[in-house]
Protein backbone atom coordinates (compact mmCIF):
# COMPACT_ATOMS: atom_id res chain seq x y z
CA UNK A 1 0.00 0.00 0.00
CA UNK A 2 1.34 3.40 -0.89
CA UNK A 3 1.79 6.01 1.79
CA UNK A 4 -0.70 8.38 0.16
CA UNK A 5 -3.46 5.80 0.36
CA UNK A 6 -2.54 5.08 3.95
CA UNK A 7 -2.65 8.79 4.73
CA UNK A 8 -6.01 9.09 3.01
CA UNK A 9 -7.33 6.19 5.08
CA UNK A 10 -5.95 7.72 8.26
CA UNK A 11 -7.80 10.93 7.54
CA UNK A 12 -11.00 9.01 6.78
CA UNK A 13 -10.58 7.07 10.00
CA UNK A 14 -10.12 10.19 12.10
CA UNK A 15 -13.15 11.75 10.44
CA UNK A 16 -15.36 8.72 11.09
CA UNK A 17 -13.93 8.38 14.58
CA UNK A 18 -14.75 11.96 15.47
CA UNK A 19 -18.39 11.30 14.47
CA UNK A 20 -18.50 8.25 16.74
CA UNK A 21 -16.94 10.37 19.46
CA UNK A 22 -19.54 13.10 19.10
CA UNK A 23 -22.39 10.62 19.51
CA UNK A 24 -20.55 8.72 22.24
CA UNK A 25 -20.43 11.79 24.50
CA UNK A 26 -24.22 11.71 24.83
CA UNK A 27 -24.18 8.03 25.80
CA UNK A 28 -21.46 8.53 28.33
CA UNK A 29 -23.20 11.54 29.93
CA UNK A 30 -26.53 9.78 30.31
CA UNK A 31 -24.86 6.60 31.49
CA UNK A 32 -22.80 8.55 33.98
CA UNK A 33 -25.90 9.94 35.64
CA UNK A 34 -28.68 7.39 35.12
CA UNK A 35 -26.60 4.20 34.62
CA UNK A 36 -28.72 3.60 31.53
CA UNK A 37 -27.85 2.82 27.95
CA UNK A 38 -30.05 5.30 26.15
CA UNK A 39 -30.94 3.02 23.25
CA UNK A 40 -32.89 5.83 21.61
CA UNK A 41 -29.80 8.05 21.41
CA UNK A 42 -29.00 6.89 17.88
CA UNK A 43 -32.54 7.63 16.80
CA UNK A 44 -32.22 11.21 18.00
CA UNK A 45 -29.39 11.47 15.52
CA UNK A 46 -31.77 10.37 12.78
CA UNK A 47 -34.40 12.92 13.82
CA UNK A 48 -31.80 15.70 13.72
CA UNK A 49 -30.99 14.84 10.12
CA UNK A 50 -34.68 14.88 9.18
CA UNK A 51 -35.33 18.16 10.96
CA UNK A 52 -32.41 19.72 9.13
CA UNK A 53 -33.79 18.46 5.81
CA UNK A 54 -37.28 19.78 6.48
CA UNK A 55 -36.04 23.10 7.85
CA UNK A 56 -34.14 23.60 4.63
CA UNK A 57 -36.90 22.35 2.34
CA UNK A 58 -40.08 23.73 3.96
CA UNK A 59 -38.84 26.86 5.71
CA UNK A 60 -36.20 27.55 3.05
CA UNK A 61 -33.64 28.25 5.76
CA UNK A 62 -29.98 28.47 4.88
CA UNK A 63 -27.78 25.85 6.50
CA UNK A 64 -26.40 28.14 9.19
CA UNK A 65 -29.97 28.53 10.49
CA UNK A 66 -31.39 25.09 9.76
CA UNK A 67 -28.55 23.22 11.47
CA UNK A 68 -28.80 25.08 14.80
CA UNK A 69 -32.58 24.73 14.63
CA UNK A 70 -32.23 20.96 14.19
CA UNK A 71 -29.74 20.80 17.06
CA UNK A 72 -32.02 22.71 19.43
CA UNK A 73 -35.14 20.79 18.41
CA UNK A 74 -33.33 17.49 18.94
CA UNK A 75 -32.15 18.65 22.34
CA UNK A 76 -35.74 19.35 23.33
CA UNK A 77 -36.77 15.97 21.95
CA UNK A 78 -34.13 14.43 24.20
CA UNK A 79 -35.70 16.09 27.24
CA UNK A 80 -39.13 14.88 26.14
CA UNK A 81 -37.75 11.36 25.75
CA UNK A 82 -36.44 11.41 29.29
CA UNK A 83 -39.70 12.79 30.69
CA UNK A 84 -41.87 10.27 28.85
CA UNK A 85 -39.84 7.07 28.88
CA UNK A 86 -37.32 7.25 31.72
CA UNK A 87 -38.57 9.59 34.41
CA UNK A 88 -41.51 7.40 35.49
CA UNK A 89 -39.03 4.57 36.04
CA UNK A 90 -36.45 6.33 38.23
CA UNK A 91 -37.06 3.95 41.12
CA UNK A 92 -37.90 0.88 39.05
CA UNK A 93 -35.57 -2.09 38.49
CA UNK A 94 -32.90 -1.36 35.90
CA UNK A 95 -34.23 -4.03 33.56
CA UNK A 96 -37.49 -2.05 33.21
CA UNK A 97 -35.58 1.10 32.36
CA UNK A 98 -33.60 -0.70 29.67
CA UNK A 99 -36.73 -2.25 28.18
CA UNK A 100 -38.36 1.16 28.11
CA UNK A 101 -35.28 2.50 26.30
CA UNK A 102 -35.49 -0.24 23.69
CA UNK A 103 -39.21 0.46 23.27
CA UNK A 104 -38.52 4.17 22.86
CA UNK A 105 -35.92 3.43 20.21
CA UNK A 106 -38.31 1.28 18.17
CA UNK A 107 -41.07 3.83 18.65
CA UNK A 108 -38.96 6.69 17.29
CA UNK A 109 -37.79 4.64 14.31
CA UNK A 110 -41.27 3.52 13.40
CA UNK A 111 -42.81 6.94 13.95
CA UNK A 112 -40.33 8.22 11.39
CA UNK A 113 -41.26 5.32 9.12
CA UNK A 114 -44.98 6.07 9.43
CA UNK A 115 -44.84 9.84 9.07
CA UNK A 116 -41.89 10.29 6.74
CA UNK A 117 -41.69 6.98 4.92
CA UNK A 118 -38.98 4.44 4.37
CA UNK A 119 -37.62 5.88 1.13
CA UNK A 120 -34.20 7.41 1.85
CA UNK A 121 -34.12 11.18 1.48
CA UNK A 122 -31.14 13.00 0.06
CA UNK A 123 -29.47 15.35 2.51
CA UNK A 124 -28.82 18.79 0.96
CA UNK A 125 -25.15 19.30 1.61
CA UNK A 126 -24.24 23.00 1.74
CA UNK A 127 -21.75 23.92 -0.95
CA UNK A 128 -19.07 25.14 1.41
CA UNK A 129 -18.65 21.59 2.73
CA UNK A 130 -18.46 20.22 -0.78
CA UNK A 131 -15.19 21.77 -1.85
CA UNK A 132 -12.25 19.52 -2.47
CA UNK A 133 -8.81 20.76 -1.54
CA UNK A 134 -5.46 19.20 -2.39
CA UNK A 135 -3.23 18.37 0.57
CA UNK A 136 0.07 16.52 0.18
CA UNK A 137 -0.98 15.22 -3.20
CA UNK A 138 -4.33 14.01 -1.86
CA UNK A 139 -7.68 15.41 -2.84
CA UNK A 140 -9.70 15.74 0.33
CA UNK A 141 -13.24 16.95 0.80
CA UNK A 142 -13.27 19.80 3.31
CA UNK A 143 -16.10 18.09 5.22
CA UNK A 144 -13.66 15.33 6.17
CA UNK A 145 -11.40 17.94 7.70
CA UNK A 146 -14.16 19.92 9.41
CA UNK A 147 -15.61 16.91 11.23
CA UNK A 148 -12.77 16.42 13.75
CA UNK A 149 -12.56 20.18 14.24
CA UNK A 150 -16.27 20.37 15.06
CA UNK A 151 -15.92 17.45 17.45
CA UNK A 152 -12.98 19.02 19.28
CA UNK A 153 -14.64 22.43 19.53
CA UNK A 154 -17.83 20.90 20.94
CA UNK A 155 -15.78 18.70 23.27
CA UNK A 156 -13.95 21.66 24.73
CA UNK A 157 -17.21 23.59 25.06
CA UNK A 158 -18.74 20.70 26.93
CA UNK A 159 -15.70 20.24 29.15
CA UNK A 160 -16.00 23.90 30.07
CA UNK A 161 -19.65 23.44 31.05
CA UNK A 162 -18.98 20.28 33.04
CA UNK A 163 -15.88 21.43 34.88
CA UNK A 164 -16.23 25.20 35.19
CA UNK A 165 -19.90 25.96 35.75
CA UNK A 166 -22.33 25.34 38.57
CA UNK A 167 -24.56 23.18 36.41
CA UNK A 168 -21.55 21.07 35.51
CA UNK A 169 -20.65 20.67 39.15
CA UNK A 170 -24.19 19.51 39.87
CA UNK A 171 -23.98 17.01 37.00
CA UNK A 172 -20.74 15.60 38.35
CA UNK A 173 -22.30 15.36 41.79
CA UNK A 174 -25.37 13.57 40.40
CA UNK A 175 -23.15 11.03 38.68
CA UNK A 176 -21.67 10.10 42.06
CA UNK A 177 -24.68 9.99 44.35
CA UNK A 178 -28.33 10.93 43.83
CA UNK A 179 -29.37 11.22 47.44
CA UNK A 180 -26.51 13.42 48.57
CA UNK A 181 -26.91 15.60 45.50
CA UNK A 182 -30.54 16.12 46.40
CA UNK A 183 -29.62 16.94 49.98
CA UNK A 184 -27.33 19.69 48.68
CA UNK A 185 -30.44 21.44 47.37
CA UNK A 186 -29.93 20.53 43.75
CA UNK A 187 -32.98 19.97 41.59
CA UNK A 188 -32.11 16.54 40.25
CA UNK A 189 -34.77 16.48 37.55
CA UNK A 190 -33.47 19.71 36.15
CA UNK A 191 -29.91 18.38 36.07
CA UNK A 192 -31.04 15.21 34.33
CA UNK A 193 -32.97 17.27 31.79
CA UNK A 194 -29.90 19.39 31.11
CA UNK A 195 -27.85 16.23 30.67
CA UNK A 196 -30.32 14.93 28.11
CA UNK A 197 -30.44 18.34 26.43
CA UNK A 198 -26.66 18.54 26.02
CA UNK A 199 -26.24 14.88 25.06
CA UNK A 200 -29.03 15.04 22.49
CA UNK A 201 -27.69 18.26 21.00
CA UNK A 202 -24.32 16.60 20.54
CA UNK A 203 -26.05 13.61 18.95
CA UNK A 204 -27.82 16.06 16.64
CA UNK A 205 -24.52 17.65 15.66
CA UNK A 206 -23.21 14.16 14.99
CA UNK A 207 -26.33 13.29 13.00
CA UNK A 208 -26.01 16.33 10.76
CA UNK A 209 -22.33 15.64 10.12
CA UNK A 210 -23.19 11.99 9.50
CA UNK A 211 -25.92 12.92 7.03
CA UNK A 212 -23.51 15.19 5.16
CA UNK A 213 -20.95 12.40 4.99
CA UNK A 214 -23.46 9.74 3.91
CA UNK A 215 -26.28 11.86 2.44
CA UNK A 216 -28.96 9.15 2.55
CA UNK A 217 -31.33 9.76 5.44
CA UNK A 218 -33.70 6.95 6.43
CA UNK A 219 -35.59 6.02 9.63
CA UNK A 220 -33.03 3.39 10.62
CA UNK A 221 -29.88 5.37 9.91
CA UNK A 222 -29.23 5.95 13.62
CA UNK A 223 -29.06 2.31 14.66
CA UNK A 224 -25.49 1.49 13.72
CA UNK A 225 -23.89 4.83 14.58
CA UNK A 226 -25.70 4.54 17.91
CA UNK A 227 -24.46 1.05 18.72
CA UNK A 228 -20.92 1.82 17.65
CA UNK A 229 -20.83 5.09 19.53
CA UNK A 230 -21.93 3.25 22.64
CA UNK A 231 -19.09 0.80 22.15
CA UNK A 232 -16.75 3.76 21.70
CA UNK A 233 -17.98 5.11 25.03
CA UNK A 234 -17.29 1.77 26.72
CA UNK A 235 -13.89 1.57 25.06
CA UNK A 236 -12.96 5.01 26.34
CA UNK A 237 -14.33 4.34 29.80
CA UNK A 238 -18.02 4.92 30.34
CA UNK A 239 -18.85 8.11 32.20
CA UNK A 240 -15.69 9.84 30.98
CA UNK A 241 -16.29 12.52 28.35
CA UNK A 242 -12.74 12.73 27.01
CA UNK A 243 -12.62 8.95 27.02
CA UNK A 244 -15.74 8.81 24.84
CA UNK A 245 -14.13 10.94 22.16
CA UNK A 246 -10.87 9.02 22.43
CA UNK A 247 -12.78 5.73 22.14
CA UNK A 248 -14.59 7.11 19.11
CA UNK A 249 -11.34 8.02 17.39
CA UNK A 250 -9.84 4.61 18.12
CA UNK A 251 -12.91 2.75 16.92
CA UNK A 252 -13.23 4.80 13.74
CA UNK A 253 -9.55 4.47 12.93
CA UNK A 254 -9.61 0.76 13.68
CA UNK A 255 -12.64 0.13 11.47
CA UNK A 256 -11.18 2.02 8.52
CA UNK A 257 -7.65 0.70 8.87
CA UNK A 258 -8.60 -2.94 9.26
CA UNK A 259 -10.53 -2.76 5.99
CA UNK A 260 -7.72 -0.81 4.33
CA UNK A 261 -5.01 -3.24 5.41
CA UNK A 262 -6.99 -6.48 4.97
CA UNK A 263 -9.58 -5.86 2.24
CA UNK A 264 -11.10 -9.33 2.74
CA UNK A 265 -12.32 -8.13 6.14
CA UNK A 266 -14.64 -5.57 4.53
CA UNK A 267 -17.76 -7.70 4.97
CA UNK A 268 -16.93 -8.26 8.64
CA UNK A 269 -16.57 -4.55 9.33
CA UNK A 270 -19.79 -4.24 11.29
CA UNK A 271 -18.76 -7.08 13.58
CA UNK A 272 -15.40 -5.48 14.40
CA UNK A 273 -16.84 -3.06 16.94
CA UNK A 274 -18.57 -5.83 18.88
CA UNK A 275 -15.44 -7.96 18.99
CA UNK A 276 -13.62 -4.93 20.41
CA UNK A 277 -16.41 -4.54 22.97
CA UNK A 278 -16.10 -8.14 24.12
CA UNK A 279 -12.32 -7.83 24.37
CA UNK A 280 -12.57 -4.61 26.38
CA UNK A 281 -15.09 -6.11 28.77
CA UNK A 282 -12.96 -9.22 29.18
CA UNK A 283 -9.66 -7.52 29.85
CA UNK A 284 -10.36 -3.97 30.99
CA UNK A 285 -14.05 -3.44 31.79
CA UNK A 286 -13.43 0.14 32.89
CA UNK A 287 -12.15 1.12 29.46
CA UNK A 288 -9.11 3.23 28.71
CA UNK A 289 -9.81 6.20 30.95
CA UNK A 290 -12.55 4.87 33.17
CA UNK A 291 -12.68 4.77 36.90
CA UNK A 292 -14.17 1.73 38.64
CA UNK A 293 -17.91 1.69 38.08
CA UNK A 294 -19.92 2.63 41.15
CA UNK A 295 -23.09 0.62 41.58
CA UNK A 296 -25.74 3.24 42.33
CA UNK A 297 -28.60 1.02 43.39
Amino acid sequence: MTSTILLQQLINGISLGSLYGLVAIGYTMVYGILRLINFAHGDLLMFAAYIAIYAAALLALPWYLSFPLAVIATGLLGILLDRAAYKPLRNAPRISLLISAIGASFLLENLALVFIGGVPKAFPRPEIFDRVIPILGLRIQVLTLYTPVVTLVLLFGLLYIVFHTKVGKAMRAASKDFETTRLMGINLDRIISITFLLGSMLAAAGGIMWAMKYPQVNPFMGVFPGLKAFIAAVLGGIGNIVGAVLGGFLLGLGEILIVALVPEMAQYRDAFAFVILILVLLFRPTGIMGEPIIDKS
Partner: protein, 343 residues
Protein backbone atom coordinates in the same frame (compact mmCIF):
# COMPACT_ATOMS: atom_id res chain seq x y z
CA UNK B 1 -56.60 -38.79 45.29
CA UNK B 2 -53.37 -37.03 46.12
CA UNK B 3 -52.29 -33.88 44.37
CA UNK B 4 -49.55 -35.40 42.29
CA UNK B 5 -51.84 -37.99 40.71
CA UNK B 6 -54.54 -35.40 40.15
CA UNK B 7 -52.15 -33.00 38.45
CA UNK B 8 -50.80 -35.76 36.23
CA UNK B 9 -54.35 -36.71 35.26
CA UNK B 10 -55.33 -33.09 34.58
CA UNK B 11 -52.21 -32.57 32.52
CA UNK B 12 -53.11 -35.62 30.49
CA UNK B 13 -56.67 -34.37 29.98
CA UNK B 14 -55.34 -30.96 28.97
CA UNK B 15 -52.99 -32.50 26.43
CA UNK B 16 -55.76 -34.62 24.96
CA UNK B 17 -57.96 -31.53 24.66
CA UNK B 18 -55.15 -29.62 22.95
CA UNK B 19 -54.62 -32.59 20.64
CA UNK B 20 -58.31 -32.60 19.81
CA UNK B 21 -58.34 -28.92 18.97
CA UNK B 22 -55.24 -29.31 16.82
CA UNK B 23 -56.78 -32.32 15.07
CA UNK B 24 -59.92 -30.33 14.25
CA UNK B 25 -57.84 -27.45 12.91
CA UNK B 26 -55.57 -29.67 10.84
CA UNK B 27 -58.68 -31.28 9.36
CA UNK B 28 -61.01 -28.34 8.87
CA UNK B 29 -58.98 -25.17 9.48
CA UNK B 30 -57.96 -22.93 6.61
CA UNK B 31 -54.27 -22.55 5.67
CA UNK B 32 -54.41 -19.12 7.24
CA UNK B 33 -55.58 -20.43 10.62
CA UNK B 34 -53.06 -23.21 10.56
CA UNK B 35 -50.25 -20.77 9.86
CA UNK B 36 -51.26 -18.57 12.78
CA UNK B 37 -51.44 -21.60 15.05
CA UNK B 38 -47.99 -22.72 13.93
CA UNK B 39 -46.61 -19.25 14.56
CA UNK B 40 -48.26 -19.27 17.96
CA UNK B 41 -46.59 -22.51 18.96
CA UNK B 42 -43.16 -21.38 17.79
CA UNK B 43 -43.58 -18.08 19.61
CA UNK B 44 -44.56 -19.98 22.75
CA UNK B 45 -41.39 -22.06 22.55
CA UNK B 46 -39.29 -18.96 21.99
CA UNK B 47 -40.98 -16.82 24.62
CA UNK B 48 -40.91 -19.49 27.32
CA UNK B 49 -37.22 -20.19 26.77
CA UNK B 50 -36.44 -16.48 26.56
CA UNK B 51 -38.36 -15.84 29.77
CA UNK B 52 -36.13 -18.37 31.52
CA UNK B 53 -33.23 -15.91 31.13
CA UNK B 54 -34.95 -12.55 31.31
CA UNK B 55 -37.76 -13.33 33.71
CA UNK B 56 -36.49 -16.11 35.96
CA UNK B 57 -32.79 -15.20 36.09
CA UNK B 58 -33.51 -11.47 35.80
CA UNK B 59 -30.86 -10.88 33.17
CA UNK B 60 -31.54 -8.75 30.14
CA UNK B 61 -30.29 -10.95 27.31
CA UNK B 62 -30.79 -9.37 23.90
CA UNK B 63 -29.42 -12.04 21.61
CA UNK B 64 -31.98 -14.86 21.26
CA UNK B 65 -32.22 -13.98 17.56
CA UNK B 66 -28.67 -15.35 17.20
CA UNK B 67 -29.64 -18.73 18.61
CA UNK B 68 -32.77 -18.88 16.48
CA UNK B 69 -30.62 -18.13 13.43
CA UNK B 70 -28.05 -20.78 14.32
CA UNK B 71 -30.78 -23.38 14.88
CA UNK B 72 -32.57 -22.44 11.68
CA UNK B 73 -29.46 -22.63 9.49
CA UNK B 74 -28.22 -25.85 11.06
CA UNK B 75 -31.55 -27.62 10.72
CA UNK B 76 -32.08 -26.32 7.19
CA UNK B 77 -28.64 -27.45 6.03
CA UNK B 78 -29.33 -30.91 7.43
CA UNK B 79 -32.75 -31.51 5.90
CA UNK B 80 -31.88 -30.25 2.42
CA UNK B 81 -30.81 -32.93 -0.01
CA UNK B 82 -27.34 -32.57 -1.62
CA UNK B 83 -29.15 -31.87 -4.88
CA UNK B 84 -31.12 -28.91 -3.44
CA UNK B 85 -27.98 -27.56 -1.84
CA UNK B 86 -26.26 -27.48 -5.21
CA UNK B 87 -29.19 -25.56 -6.64
CA UNK B 88 -29.12 -23.06 -3.77
CA UNK B 89 -25.42 -22.36 -3.54
CA UNK B 90 -24.78 -20.83 -6.92
CA UNK B 91 -22.29 -18.11 -5.98
CA UNK B 92 -20.04 -20.17 -3.78
CA UNK B 93 -20.37 -23.91 -3.23
CA UNK B 94 -21.27 -25.24 0.20
CA UNK B 95 -18.22 -26.40 2.14
CA UNK B 96 -17.67 -30.09 2.63
CA UNK B 97 -19.28 -31.67 5.68
CA UNK B 98 -22.53 -29.81 5.10
CA UNK B 99 -22.67 -30.52 1.38
CA UNK B 100 -22.86 -34.29 1.82
CA UNK B 101 -24.90 -34.90 4.98
CA UNK B 102 -28.63 -35.20 5.19
CA UNK B 103 -30.69 -36.07 8.24
CA UNK B 104 -34.34 -36.65 9.11
CA UNK B 105 -36.32 -33.72 10.49
CA UNK B 106 -36.26 -34.67 14.17
CA UNK B 107 -32.50 -35.17 14.13
CA UNK B 108 -32.04 -31.86 12.28
CA UNK B 109 -34.11 -29.99 14.86
CA UNK B 110 -32.08 -31.50 17.69
CA UNK B 111 -28.85 -30.70 15.88
CA UNK B 112 -30.02 -27.11 15.51
CA UNK B 113 -30.66 -26.97 19.25
CA UNK B 114 -27.29 -28.52 20.05
CA UNK B 115 -25.46 -26.15 17.72
CA UNK B 116 -27.15 -23.16 19.38
CA UNK B 117 -26.15 -24.56 22.78
CA UNK B 118 -22.53 -24.90 21.68
CA UNK B 119 -22.46 -21.26 20.58
CA UNK B 120 -24.15 -20.22 23.83
CA UNK B 121 -21.43 -22.05 25.76
CA UNK B 122 -18.69 -20.34 23.78
CA UNK B 123 -19.99 -16.83 24.44
CA UNK B 124 -21.10 -17.47 28.00
CA UNK B 125 -17.67 -16.63 29.41
CA UNK B 126 -17.49 -13.04 28.20
CA UNK B 127 -21.25 -12.62 28.70
CA UNK B 128 -21.43 -13.59 32.36
CA UNK B 129 -18.38 -11.63 33.36
CA UNK B 130 -20.62 -8.58 33.22
CA UNK B 131 -24.15 -7.73 34.35
CA UNK B 132 -26.91 -5.27 33.63
CA UNK B 133 -26.58 -2.94 30.68
CA UNK B 134 -23.22 -4.36 29.67
CA UNK B 135 -24.63 -7.84 29.42
CA UNK B 136 -27.49 -6.49 27.33
CA UNK B 137 -25.16 -4.82 24.87
CA UNK B 138 -22.77 -7.79 24.65
CA UNK B 139 -25.60 -10.19 23.83
CA UNK B 140 -27.04 -7.69 21.38
CA UNK B 141 -23.59 -7.50 19.83
CA UNK B 142 -23.45 -11.28 19.61
CA UNK B 143 -26.72 -11.23 17.67
CA UNK B 144 -25.22 -8.69 15.28
CA UNK B 145 -22.01 -10.70 14.88
CA UNK B 146 -24.04 -13.79 13.97
CA UNK B 147 -26.03 -11.77 11.44
CA UNK B 148 -22.82 -10.44 9.91
CA UNK B 149 -21.45 -13.99 9.76
CA UNK B 150 -24.65 -15.24 8.10
CA UNK B 151 -24.14 -12.60 5.44
CA UNK B 152 -20.41 -13.10 5.05
CA UNK B 153 -19.82 -16.86 5.29
CA UNK B 154 -21.28 -17.62 1.89
CA UNK B 155 -19.80 -21.12 1.87
CA UNK B 156 -22.02 -22.10 4.79
CA UNK B 157 -25.07 -19.85 4.75
CA UNK B 158 -25.27 -18.76 1.11
CA UNK B 159 -24.90 -15.15 2.26
CA UNK B 160 -27.68 -12.63 1.83
CA UNK B 161 -29.48 -14.90 -0.63
CA UNK B 162 -30.31 -17.32 2.14
CA UNK B 163 -31.65 -20.82 1.72
CA UNK B 164 -34.72 -21.42 -0.39
CA UNK B 165 -37.03 -24.31 -1.04
CA UNK B 166 -36.84 -26.08 2.32
CA UNK B 167 -39.35 -28.89 2.72
CA UNK B 168 -42.34 -27.69 4.74
CA UNK B 169 -41.94 -30.32 7.47
CA UNK B 170 -43.32 -28.15 10.24
CA UNK B 171 -46.98 -28.87 10.86
CA UNK B 172 -49.26 -28.38 13.85
CA UNK B 173 -48.07 -31.59 15.52
CA UNK B 174 -44.41 -30.70 15.32
CA UNK B 175 -44.76 -27.08 16.38
CA UNK B 176 -47.18 -27.72 19.24
CA UNK B 177 -45.35 -30.88 20.25
CA UNK B 178 -42.15 -28.91 20.71
CA UNK B 179 -44.03 -26.11 22.49
CA UNK B 180 -45.58 -28.56 24.98
CA UNK B 181 -42.26 -30.30 25.64
CA UNK B 182 -40.56 -26.92 26.13
CA UNK B 183 -43.18 -25.68 28.57
CA UNK B 184 -43.15 -28.93 30.56
CA UNK B 185 -39.37 -29.18 30.78
CA UNK B 186 -38.80 -25.52 31.60
CA UNK B 187 -41.56 -25.58 34.22
CA UNK B 188 -39.92 -28.62 35.80
CA UNK B 189 -36.61 -26.78 35.82
CA UNK B 190 -38.11 -23.65 37.37
CA UNK B 191 -39.76 -25.66 40.12
CA UNK B 192 -36.57 -27.55 40.90
CA UNK B 193 -33.84 -26.41 43.26
CA UNK B 194 -32.01 -25.01 40.23
CA UNK B 195 -34.98 -22.78 39.48
CA UNK B 196 -35.09 -21.57 43.07
CA UNK B 197 -31.41 -20.71 42.85
CA UNK B 198 -32.02 -18.80 39.61
CA UNK B 199 -34.79 -16.77 41.21
CA UNK B 200 -32.54 -16.11 44.18
CA UNK B 201 -29.89 -14.73 41.83
CA UNK B 202 -32.51 -12.55 40.19
CA UNK B 203 -33.73 -11.11 43.47
CA UNK B 204 -30.34 -10.50 45.03
CA UNK B 205 -27.18 -11.90 43.57
CA UNK B 206 -25.00 -11.04 46.53
CA UNK B 207 -27.36 -12.69 48.99
CA UNK B 208 -27.66 -15.75 46.76
CA UNK B 209 -23.90 -16.02 46.63
CA UNK B 210 -23.75 -15.76 50.39
CA UNK B 211 -26.15 -18.72 50.61
CA UNK B 212 -23.74 -20.78 48.55
CA UNK B 213 -25.39 -20.42 45.15
CA UNK B 214 -22.86 -20.23 42.33
CA UNK B 215 -24.30 -17.58 39.98
CA UNK B 216 -22.16 -18.51 36.99
CA UNK B 217 -23.13 -22.19 37.08
CA UNK B 218 -26.86 -21.49 37.33
CA UNK B 219 -26.93 -18.67 34.81
CA UNK B 220 -24.93 -20.83 32.41
CA UNK B 221 -27.40 -23.70 32.82
CA UNK B 222 -30.36 -21.41 32.09
CA UNK B 223 -28.53 -19.83 29.17
CA UNK B 224 -27.69 -23.18 27.57
CA UNK B 225 -31.21 -24.58 28.00
CA UNK B 226 -32.73 -21.40 26.64
CA UNK B 227 -30.37 -21.46 23.66
CA UNK B 228 -31.21 -25.12 22.97
CA UNK B 229 -34.95 -24.51 22.73
CA UNK B 230 -34.42 -21.29 20.76
CA UNK B 231 -32.36 -23.31 18.30
CA UNK B 232 -35.03 -25.98 17.98
CA UNK B 233 -37.66 -23.30 17.45
CA UNK B 234 -35.40 -21.79 14.79
CA UNK B 235 -35.39 -25.12 12.96
CA UNK B 236 -39.19 -25.26 13.16
CA UNK B 237 -39.47 -21.70 11.90
CA UNK B 238 -37.17 -22.44 8.95
CA UNK B 239 -39.28 -25.41 7.87
CA UNK B 240 -42.50 -23.47 8.36
CA UNK B 241 -41.67 -20.55 6.08
CA UNK B 242 -39.32 -22.68 3.92
CA UNK B 243 -37.06 -19.73 3.07
CA UNK B 244 -34.49 -18.26 5.43
CA UNK B 245 -32.13 -15.35 5.04
CA UNK B 246 -30.08 -13.29 7.49
CA UNK B 247 -32.65 -10.49 7.46
CA UNK B 248 -35.12 -12.79 9.22
CA UNK B 249 -33.02 -12.95 12.38
CA UNK B 250 -32.33 -9.34 13.25
CA UNK B 251 -32.76 -7.58 16.57
CA UNK B 252 -36.36 -7.09 15.49
CA UNK B 253 -37.07 -10.73 16.39
CA UNK B 254 -35.63 -10.19 19.86
CA UNK B 255 -37.75 -7.08 20.24
CA UNK B 256 -40.89 -9.07 19.44
CA UNK B 257 -39.96 -11.71 22.01
CA UNK B 258 -39.32 -8.98 24.55
CA UNK B 259 -42.83 -7.60 23.96
CA UNK B 260 -44.34 -11.06 24.50
CA UNK B 261 -42.64 -11.73 27.81
CA UNK B 262 -43.08 -8.19 29.13
CA UNK B 263 -46.78 -8.12 28.32
CA UNK B 264 -47.24 -11.62 29.73
CA UNK B 265 -45.33 -10.71 32.87
CA UNK B 266 -41.56 -11.05 33.26
CA UNK B 267 -40.84 -14.15 35.29
CA UNK B 268 -43.97 -16.14 34.57
CA UNK B 269 -44.03 -19.09 32.17
CA UNK B 270 -47.80 -18.81 31.98
CA UNK B 271 -47.34 -15.15 31.14
CA UNK B 272 -44.86 -15.99 28.39
CA UNK B 273 -47.34 -18.44 26.86
CA UNK B 274 -50.17 -15.89 27.04
CA UNK B 275 -47.92 -13.15 25.67
CA UNK B 276 -46.87 -15.33 22.74
CA UNK B 277 -50.47 -16.27 21.93
CA UNK B 278 -51.62 -12.65 22.15
CA UNK B 279 -48.74 -11.54 19.97
CA UNK B 280 -49.38 -14.15 17.29
CA UNK B 281 -53.06 -13.29 17.23
CA UNK B 282 -52.65 -9.54 17.68
CA UNK B 283 -49.95 -9.30 15.05
CA UNK B 284 -52.41 -10.74 12.53
CA UNK B 285 -55.36 -8.72 13.78
CA UNK B 286 -53.37 -5.50 13.51
CA UNK B 287 -52.48 -6.20 9.91
CA UNK B 288 -55.51 -4.11 8.92
CA UNK B 289 -53.77 -0.91 10.00
CA UNK B 290 -51.08 -1.55 7.42
CA UNK B 291 -53.28 -2.62 4.54
CA UNK B 292 -55.27 -0.14 2.46
CA UNK B 293 -58.76 0.42 3.80
CA UNK B 294 -61.61 0.87 1.39
CA UNK B 295 -64.26 3.15 2.83
CA UNK B 296 -66.47 3.16 -0.26
CA UNK B 297 -65.93 6.74 -1.37
CA UNK B 298 -62.18 6.84 -0.87
CA UNK B 299 -59.37 4.53 0.12
CA UNK B 300 -57.00 5.05 3.03
CA UNK B 301 -53.61 3.79 1.94
CA UNK B 302 -51.89 1.31 4.23
CA UNK B 303 -49.23 2.75 6.51
CA UNK B 304 -46.16 0.55 6.79
CA UNK B 305 -44.65 0.64 10.26
CA UNK B 306 -47.94 1.41 12.04
CA UNK B 307 -48.05 -2.02 13.65
CA UNK B 308 -44.61 -1.53 15.15
CA UNK B 309 -45.63 1.89 16.46
CA UNK B 310 -48.55 0.24 18.23
CA UNK B 311 -46.36 -2.58 19.57
CA UNK B 312 -43.71 -0.18 20.85
CA UNK B 313 -46.35 1.93 22.58
CA UNK B 314 -47.85 -1.20 24.16
CA UNK B 315 -44.41 -2.27 25.39
CA UNK B 316 -43.68 1.14 26.90
CA UNK B 317 -47.12 1.53 28.46
CA UNK B 318 -46.87 -1.91 30.06
CA UNK B 319 -43.35 -1.37 31.37
CA UNK B 320 -44.14 2.11 32.72
CA UNK B 321 -47.66 1.71 34.09
CA UNK B 322 -48.34 -2.01 34.59
CA UNK B 323 -44.88 -3.36 35.15
CA UNK B 324 -46.23 -6.73 36.23
CA UNK B 325 -47.78 -7.47 32.86
CA UNK B 326 -50.68 -9.92 32.78
CA UNK B 327 -49.36 -12.50 35.22
CA UNK B 328 -46.62 -10.74 37.19
CA UNK B 329 -44.43 -13.52 38.52
CA UNK B 330 -47.40 -15.77 39.24
CA UNK B 331 -48.08 -19.05 37.52
CA UNK B 332 -51.34 -20.64 36.58
CA UNK B 333 -51.23 -24.20 37.92
CA UNK B 334 -53.72 -26.86 38.88
CA UNK B 335 -52.87 -26.22 42.50
CA UNK B 336 -53.68 -22.55 42.08
CA UNK B 337 -57.08 -23.42 40.61
CA UNK B 338 -58.21 -26.24 42.90
CA UNK B 339 -56.32 -26.10 46.17
CA UNK B 340 -57.35 -23.90 49.02
CA UNK B 341 -53.78 -23.55 50.20
CA UNK B 342 -51.71 -23.82 47.08
CA UNK B 343 -48.11 -24.63 47.66
Amino acid sequence: MDRQKRNLLLNGVGLILLGGVLFLFSRYGSDYHIRILNNMAIFITLAVSYNLINGICGILHLGPNAFVAIGAYTAALLTMSPMEKQLNFIIQPLIWPFSAVQAPFLLSLLAGGVMATVFAFLISFPVFRVRGDYLAIVTLGFGEVIRVLCNALQGVTNGPLGLKGLSPFTNLWWSWGVAVVTVLLITRLINSSYGLAMKAIRDDETAARAMGVDPFRHLLLAFLISAFFSGVAGGLLAHLITTISPSLFTFFLTFNLLIMIVVGGLGSTTGAVLGAMLFAWGGEALRIVESPMNLGLFTIPGIPGMRMVIFSVILMVVIIFVRRGIMGQKELSWGWIFDRNPR
